[in-house]
């Protein structure tokens, strides 16, 4: 069965980030033989004076393919992990959603999209989780992170929000690769022009500093922008971080 596991608000100014905690849970799930986890995505939620957050209000989520018998173990492990690993002053939340048991995928997605635009209460999050049949739990502090955790699961399910945690490693920055070579990278599922232009398999791409992919249509997509007079005949370049800020 396929699950979404999302967490939010696990950190403070000095601790390791929520993304690292998500990666550690994903790695443990695999090491224990409970299943296989996909990439971790970061989802930006609303920044608003009425919302308590440490510094950026982002949630982290990954998808895992697991054996049904391990679901309770995984949920218990993640809860225990958050109870022990989360930083002082944080308000951690955990969401575990089994995709084929979701009462309404549309409602979960709508909640995630709302959390990017509106202030939402914890009660709303718990009410929706109950209706959908989704695990949602608080692990210290005010537990406010349950809102982001549920929203993170919804946004990951939507498939059109967020950046992937980590950077792609190719050769040196400044090198040039063909689109077909970029697609050989295990972290790249598609390559697209950010402005909608047509990208061909043999086009040359200038690789920038620490290129990252974004989540579009459920895939890890490397976005490119056109470059005029690129070195060595390159017609595309990977996006700078500034250009990825909106994802």
């Amino acid at each position: 069965m396929k699950i979404l596991l999302a967490i939010d608000d696990t950190d403070n100014l000095e601790s390791r980030g929520t993304g690292e905690i998500a990666s550690l849970i994903a790695a443990a799930l695999q090491e224990k033989g409970w299943g296989s986890a996909s990439f971790v995505t970061r989802h930006q939620l609303l920044v608003h004076p009425d919302i308590p957050y440490t510094s950026h209000n982002s949630a982290m989520c990954f998808v895992a393919e697991i054996e049904e018998g391990h679901l309770d173990r995984i949920t218990a492990f993640a809860k225990d992990f958050l109870n022990h690993e989360c930083a002082e002053g944080s308000d951690p939340g955990l969401c575990v959603a089994v995709l084929d048991r979701l009462a309404s995928a549309d409602d979960l997605i709508a909640f995630g999209r709302r959390a990017k635009l509106e202030v939402i209460t914890m009660q709303e999050a718990f009410d929706l989780a109950g209706r959908l049949g989704v695990h949602l739990s608080a692990h210290g502090g005010t537990g406010q992170g349950v809102i982001g955790a549920l929203a993170g699961a919804g946004l990951r399910l939507w498939g059109n929000d967020g950046r992937l945690k980590g950077c792609l490693e190719f050769s040196e920055p400044g090198s040039r690769l063909r689109v077909s070579e970029l697609l050989d990278h295990p972290g790249v599922e598609a390559v697209r022009c950010v402005a909608g232009g047509v990208v061909r398999a043999d086009d040359l791409v200038e690789i920038g500093e620490k290129p990252k992919t974004v989540l579009l249509e459920g895939a890890s997509v490397l976005l490119l922008s056109a470059v005029q007079g690129g070195e060595g005949g390159a017609t595309w370049q990977t996006l700078h971080r500034k250009q990825l800020r909106g994802y």
Partner: protein, 68 residues
Amino acid sequence: MWRNDQTGAREFTLGKESWGAAVCAALDCSGFAADVDEELVTDDERSCYNCRYRRWSASSFTCQATRP
């Protein structure tokens, strides 16, 4: 470049798109520390926009760094 907001926090007055000013401010700051990779927003590594002590607001950010 800075002012105190209603809560007394030190707010960057130039918003979220003043990339050069955010680099200059960070170069001048002894409290700068880079945030975790997934929260970096510019390739200029030393920038207030990349600092783990910046707290984003709707229009800009406030600085939570402790400076000597």
